[in-house]
């Protein structure tokens, strides 16, 4: 019955999608945005949670993905999916380059470096208004010719599911094992034969690529790209989502994105006061539940269907299939 949790997740997702039409447009929009943040939170957890690279440039990559797609479509009349793919490729390349430049950095140095990169991107986009339309915002083509938001919900869900599947395969492969080894002790990982530099560059490139995918979708859903997509407030929001959910697992990071996004909307009547509340929740999480608030529930959920076994055999085991790199 080890597959029971997966079956439950799939059944719940199918049920939710089948009933998505009952949501009013407002909550449909909230669900779409939650999925957008879900992709970003999962990919940031790949970088920060699995490899231990605390980058603050993730939202800058979402912004780059969105602008790249929007501009290429505007200039060359590319089909929208191709524009989004071009944004992903651009983010992978830039992310890999940033990963290479930051090879010897970690902790606060890496955070400050990526913060600087993020600000350079934001200010460049704001300033180059002949190209990007600056603070006025760059109008983008809509991904779907639909009068309702429901088709966007299905697309957002498909992108989130695809992202989780691909990132899940990565973290369950030997690369995932190397990522965690680097997070635990970079020097020992190198002594164990792990090509630390290559792993760090790959992690940066992959995570940035998924951020670009989320940004590309966002650009062609919202219909306008502004520099604020990549600003520090957005990065702080993503960080809160991922940390509150649990940054060392992809599903818990996505759970955090959903919980925070829906709560932010639900508590909207409290205005700006809801933001300090989330700040306090973040502080309490860091102090008392460093694995995140969603993680204990997720671990409990994963135990569903398991026979009563000894604690030793209940712990994670070696993947029983060959997994390529």
């Amino acid at each position: 019955m080890r597959g029971l949790p997966i079956a439950i997740v799939l059944a719940a997702a199918a049920l939710a999608l089948a009933n998505a039409g009952r949501l009013n447009p407002y909550w449909t929009h909230v669900a779409i945005i939650a999925m957008y943040y879900g992709i970003l939170a999962a990919s940031w957890s790949l970088l920060a949670g699995y490899v231990g690279l605390f980058s603050l440039s993730h939202m800058a990559f979402a912004s780059i993905g969105g602008y790249t797609s929007a501009l290429l479509i505007q200039w060359f009349r590319l089909p929208i999916p191709l524009g989004i793919v071009a944004g992903v490729v651009m983010c992978c390349a830039l992310g890999g380059a940033i990963g290479w430049v930051c090879l010897r950095m970690s902790g606060p140095y890496l955070a400050i470096f990526t913060l600087g990169f993020s600000e350079i991107v934001r200010i460049t986009i704001s300033t180059e208004d002949e190209v990007t339309a600056g603070m006025a915002g760059l109008h983008t083509h809509s991904l779907l010719a639909s009068a309702t938001r429901l088709p966007y919900l299905y697309v957002a869900f498909a992108l989130l599911a695809l992202s989780l599947l691909l990132m899940g395969l990565l973290v369950r492969s030997r690369w995932g094992l190397f990522f965690r080894a680097i997070r635990e002790d970079e020097q020992a990982a190198a002594a164990s034969g792990v090509a630390v530099a290559r792993c760090r560059i790959v992690a940066f490139a992959v995570a940035s690529g998924f951020a670009g995918l989320a940004g590309g979708f966002y650009a062609h859903y919202i219909g306008i790209m502004t520099p604020s997509v990549g600003d520090l407030d957005e990065m702080a929001k993503l960080l809160v989502m991922t940390v509150i959910g649990g940054m060392e697992r992809l599903p818990t990071a996505v759970g955090g994105a959903f919980v925070v996004e829906f709560l932010l909307e639900w508590l909207r009547e409290y205005g700006q006061w809801r933001l300090p509340v989330f700040g306090i929740v973040l502080l309490l999480t860091m102090r008392f539940a460093r694995n995140g608030l969603v993680t204990p529930f997720w671990l409990q959920f994963l135990r569903l269907g398991e026979a009563r076994v000894s604690p030793l055999s209940a712990a994670p085991t070696v993947p029983d299939k060959e997994s390529g790199t």
């Binding site: 030997r174 094992l177 190397f178 965690r180 080894a181 635990e184 002790d185 020097q187 020992a188 990982a189 190198a190 002594a191 164990s192 034969g193 792990v194 090509a195 630390v196 530099a197 030793l312 055999s313 712990a315 994670p316 085991t317 070696v318 993947p319 029983d320 299939k321 060959e322 997994s323």
Partner: protein
């Protein structure tokens, strides 16, 4: 050393930290089949030497050769891939990963490895090191001695030609220390080459076939343990006589 292949050679290795010369033109050779003890007082430059010979520290002068190949500028994982494994003075494990996962990392880092083959080999070594019962525990939950054994096991997963063990007996219970010594002897008899750094003279002398002594960043003696122990310079520098 005659007739035996040279595995690692340090030629005129120099390392400075600010005004301190940690290694001053040190020549060091490890040949196939050696079981070499590297001793010296605190601050004599033993760990610095090991760090340079395993790629963790770039020398300021001199060169490192592995199987005759110049290694300057190469990262530690290349040394590992060429059969040079090491443990650390302060045990450095992947603390929140399980014991088995700690073993899988070096195994899977080797080219052409597969999960099944690596997992089989990891379990064989865990059995050899009496760690099978704890394979699913996080490494940080092991005792100090078990952690030293696991670090040795992680090295073995590289199927190395030479193992540099930096203070493997430090803080280890005497019973586990004996087990560690037995395992090192068995592995040496099985064809592995060892360089063991430790302050525990008794343990070093129980296993070493060759002894190298360092003091103030220089090598002051290199030879048979009995001859080295009788060396006046060694007595003066190491024992303070």
């Amino acid at each position: 050393m005659s007739g035996r292949a040279e595995l690692v050679r340090g030629v005129g290795l120099v390392k400075r930290f600010g005004g301190i010369v940690a290694n001053d033109a040190v020549d060091f050779v490890v040949a196939e089949g050696d079981l070499l003890g590297l001793i010296g007082p605190n601050g004599s430059g033993k760990t610095t030497l090991i760090n340079m010979l395993t790629g963790h520290l770039e020398p300021d002068g001199g060169d490192v050769l592995v199987r005759g190949q110049r290694m300057s500028g190469r990262p530690p994982n290349v040394y590992a891939a060429m059969g040079v494994a090491r443990t650390f003075q302060q045990t450095q494990l992947f603390g929140r990963m399980t014991v088995l996962e700690n073993m899988l990392v070096p195994g899977l880092a080797r080219s052409h490895s597969t999960w099944d083959e690596v997992a089989r080999r990891a379990r064989r070594y865990l059995d050899f090191l009496s760690l099978s019962d704890v394979e699913q525990l996080p490494a940080k939950n092991l005792s100090g001695g078990q952690q030293k054994l696991l670090e040795l096991g992680r090295c073995l997963m590289l199927e190395p030609a030479v193992l540099f063990l930096d203070e493997p007996f430090a803080g280890v219970h005497p019973r586990l220390r004996d087990k560690l010594l037995d395992r090192i002897r068995e592995l040496h008899q099985g064809g592995r080459t060892f360089v063991v750094v430790d302050h525990d003279m008794e343990s070093i002398l129980r296993i070493s076939r060759r002894l190298v002594v360092m003091a103030r960043g220089s090598k002051i003696a290199d030879g048979e343990p009995d001859a080295v122990r009788a060396d006046q310079a060694v007595l003066a520098a190491y024992a303070g006589l």
